[in-house]
Symmetry: C2
C-alpha cells in the first residue's frame, strides 16, 4: 500500500468510527451487556479458527526468531481463549458509569445545571504483541460507549484479525452498531502516524507497549494521549519503621511480580537504622535471589554480596530481581530523591508516625503514595475498579489506575425557562 | 539569540518552575490568598511604571500599523489596571479546591484509599496580545498551587514584563516561592516550540488565542493541551417551541456579545413552523441589524432581506452580526446537522417537550447542551465557578467552562497496616 492509500484507509475508519460512536451512545446498559455476552460466546464458538490464526502468527514468529518470552506472550491456547471470553463476561457484570449524574445545581436565575458522565467518543488503542489486548481494550471501551480503532503489532496480526472478527460478528448479532470496533487490518508502520494525526475523528489515543512506541505516539499525536510510562517505584524506610513490616513490604513490592510497572526498584533507608535494617532486609533479599546495587552505607551493612550503585541505578526500571538501595538523612532527602529520580508512579513510606506519613503523601509527586503497604497496590483490581485499561502516569484526566469511569468524559445539561444573559 | 540559546533558556525556566511547584504545593490557602492581595497592591503601586511600559508597546504598535481593535485590546489605563488588581483580589476570595477529598473507601484487606485534589504542577500559558491575560492566568494557576511559564505575544512584551515583575515582587514579599510565575522575557517565535516539547517540566499547556496559534501548539506539544477552539453554536427551534421565547433566546445568543465563542452562529428551524417562526424572528433580527444567510425556505419566509447560504456558512464562526438559518425536518436532522457541522461547544433546543429536550441533550455531542435558554450561559461566571481560564472544547480532563477545579489533578493516598499482595 502507498502512504496515501494507508492514510485514506485510516481516515475512512475514523469517519465510520465517529458515526458508530453516536449509535453507541444510544445503547442501554442492558443492550451493551447482552452484546458483551454474545461476543464471549462467539470467541468460544470460533475457538478452532482463532487458534489456527494464532498458529500462523507463531509459525512466523519462529521463523523471525522471536524470544521465548515473546513467543509465550503471543501464544493462545484453549485455556487462554477461555480466559479471554471470561474477561468479556466479567466486563458485562461491571456497573456502567455512563449516564451517572456527577453534579447538579440551580443558579439564582433558575437555570438548572446537570453534569452528566458520557462516553469519550472514539478511542484509538495502539498495542504490541499480546493478542488479548484486542479483546480487553475493545470490551472496556465498548462498555463505556466508545468506538475503538485498534492497531496491534504485526507479530499478532492473524490472531488479532480473528479475535476482532469474532467480537464484530458476535456483537453485531446482538445489536452492536457496525464499525464500533475496528481493527486496522494491515501492519504498515505509518498507520500509527496517520492515526495520531487524525484528531478530527479520534478523541483519545492510548498506546500500550514499550517506551519506544509511547514516545513515538507522544511526539506525533494531535489528540490527548494517556500514557503508561515506567514505574520507578520506591519504598522509604523511616527511622521509626516496624522493620519486619518494612522487610515484608519490600520483598512483596520487589518480588511478587518483578516485571510490572508497580514493582519496587529502589529502597531508601534512614541513616539512623542503616546498621539494624540493612542486615535484616539483606538476608531476605538474598534468600529471594535479588541482586542489590547499594550506596556505600548499604554495601557496608547489608551483610550479603552487593554491587556498588551508580547514578544510573536511581533512574533504571529493572523489571527484574534487581534492587537499588540508598541511605538518606531523613524524609526531606527521601522526598527530594523520589521527586527527582522517580517516575511519579507509586511510592511507599514505612513509618509509625502518621504526621510523617502525611507529609510524605503530600509532598511526593506521584499518582499513588502509600503508607505501610506494598507498592503493588497501585492497580485497578486492587482499588476495586473491577477492570483497568492501564495505570496512567499522566496528571491530566486520569492519574493512577484507569477503570471504566476514566474512559468517560462528561457534558453539561442546562435546563431553563427562557433565560437570557443580561 | 541562537535557537540553542533559546532552548537552553526555556529549559532552565522549566527546571526552576518544577522546583517552585514543589514549594507552591506546600502553601496554605491563607498564604496563597495573602500573596494574591500583595500582588494586587504591587500592581497599583507600580501603576506609573506599568503604564509607561504599556506606552512603549502602543508606540511600537502604531508604527507597525496594528488595527484599531488590536490597539484597544493592548491598551492599559488606570481604570483597566484597577480592574486587573480587583480581579486578583477576587481570586483571593474564591474557595481553594486543593486538598479537597474527592473520594474515600476502604478495601476488604483494610487498605484505606483517599483520592485527593492536588495542583497539576507546572502549566505553560501561551497567549496573544491582551496583557490582562498575564495576570488572569497567572493568578488562577497560582491559586491552585501551580507554577506557570507565561509566553505572551511580542506586541505586549513591555506591558507583560512590567505586570509579571509586579506579580513577582509583590508576591515574593508575601512569601511567593521564587520562579513560581515566570514570563519568557524574549519574543522569538521558536520559544513556543521549545515550550511545547519540554514535557519533562511542563505538565499542561494552554494556548489562548487564534486558531493558528492553537493549531501550532497542538501539532508540536508532547504534553497535554487544553484547547479553546471555535464555537459554532446552534439554536434549534422545535415545532412546539414557544416562539416568542425562541426569538428572545436567538436574539440574546447572537447579539448580546457577538465576538465570543458561545455566541450563536446558526439557527435550525423545524419545517412545520417555518411559515410562522421565520417572519417573527426575521423582523427581530433585522431590527438588531443581523445579516442573515438562509436556505431556500428561510429566504422564502423571513420577510426581510437575506442572502442565500452556502455549505461554508454551516461551518463558519462569524463572530459578528451574521446568522445562518436552515430549515430541518425535525429533531433527527437537527442533531445530525449539529454533530456534523458544529464545533461541539454549545447548542440549545427550544421546545415544550421535556422528552424531546432530553433526547437532544443526550445525542448532541457538545460540551454544553441547553434547553430553553441562551447559548451564552456556557461560561464559568454563569456556572457559578467564580473565575474561568477558558471554555474547553476538548473531552479529556476538562470540558466546557474551566474553573479552578479544572486546574487541578488528583493523587491517591493509600494507608495500610503492613498489607502485601498475595
Amino acid at each position: 500500500m502507498t502512504d496515501s492509500e494507508i492514510q485514506s484507509a485510516i481516515l475512512d475508519m475514523g469517519r465510520l468510527a465517529r458515526a458508530a460512536s453516536y449509535a453507541l451512545a444510544k445503547l442501554t446498559t442492558e443492550q451493551k451487556n447482552a452484546i458483551l455476552i454474545a461476543m464471549a460466546d462467539e470467541i468460544m464458538a470460533r475457538q478452532d479458527a482463532i487458534l489456527a490464526a494464532n498458529a500462523l502468527d507463531l509459525a512466523r514468529a519462529e521463523v523471525n526468531g522471536l524470544s521465548k518470552a515473546m513467543l509465550d506472550r503471543l501464544t493462545l491456547d484453549p485455556k487462554r481463549l477461555n480466559a479471554i471470553a471470561e474477561a468479556l463476561r466479567e466486563v458485562a457484570l461491571l456497573p456502567d458509569p455512563v449516564g451517572e449524574k456527577l453534579a447538579e445545581w440551580t443558579r439564582p436565575n433558575g437555570l438548572r445545571i446537570r453534569k452528566v458522565r458520557v462516553p469519550i467518543g472514539v478511542i484509538g488503542i495502539i498495542f504490541e504483541s499480546r493478542p488479548n489486548v484486542t479483546t480487553d481494550a475493545a470490551s472496556l471501551c465498548f462498555k463505556t460507549g466508545n468506538a475503538t480503532i485498534l492497531r496491534g503489532g504485526s507479530e499478532a496480526i492473524d490472531s488479532n484479525r480473528a479475535l476482532a472478527a469474532a467480537l464484530q460478528a458476535g456483537g453485531e448479532r446482538a445489536g452492536l452498531p457496525p464499525d464500533s470496533i475496528q481493527l486496522i487490518p494491515f501492519t504498515d508502520r505509518s498507520s500509527v502516524e496517520h492515526m495520531a494525526k487524525m484528531d478530527q475523528y479520534l478523541d483519545l489515543i492510548i498506546p500500550r507497549g514499550g517506551k519506544g512506541l509511547i514516545e513515538k505516539v507522544v511526539a506525533t499525536a494531535r489528540m490527548p494521549v494517556i500514557k503508561h510510562y515506567d514505574g520507578i517505584c520506591h519504598v522509604y524506610v523511616h527511622a521509626d519503621a516496624d522493620q519486619q513490616m518494612a522487610a515484608d513490604i519490600i520483598i512483596n513490592s520487589k518480588c511478587q511480580k518483578p516485571g510490572v510497572c508497580n514493582a519496587l526498584e529502589t529502597i531508601l533507608v534512614h541513616q539512623d537504622v542503616a546498621t539494624s535494617f540493612y542486615p535484616l532486609v539483606g538476608k531476605r533479599l538474598a534468600e529471594a535471589k535479588v541482586e542489590i546495587r547499594g550506596d556505600a552505607a548499604a554495601l557496608q551493612h547489608l551483610g550479603v554480596p552487593a554491587k556498588a550503585a551508580t547514578e544510573e541505578d536511581w533512574t533504571t526500571e529493572y523489571l527484574d530481581l534487581i534492587l537499588a538501595a540508598k541511605t538518606v538523612t531523613g524524609i526531606d532527602e527521601a522526598i527530594l530523591h523520589i521527586n527527582r529520580y522517580g517516575s511519579h508512579h507509586t511510592d511507599s513510606i514505612i513509618t509509625k508516625d502518621r504526621t510523617v506519613a502525611e507529609r510524605f503523601q503530600h509532598e511526593v509527586d506521584s499518582a499513588v503514595v502509600v503508607h505501610n503497604a506494598s507498592t503493588r497496590f497501585n492497580d485497578g483490581g486492587e482499588f476495586g475498579f473491577g477492570a483497568e485499561i492501564g495505570i496512567s502516569t499522566d496528571k491530566l484526566h486520569a492519574r493512577g489506575p484507569m477503570g471504566l469511569a476514566e474512559l468517560c468524559s462528561y457534558k453539561y445539561w442546562l435546563d431553563g425557562t427562557g433565560q437570557v444573559r443580561a
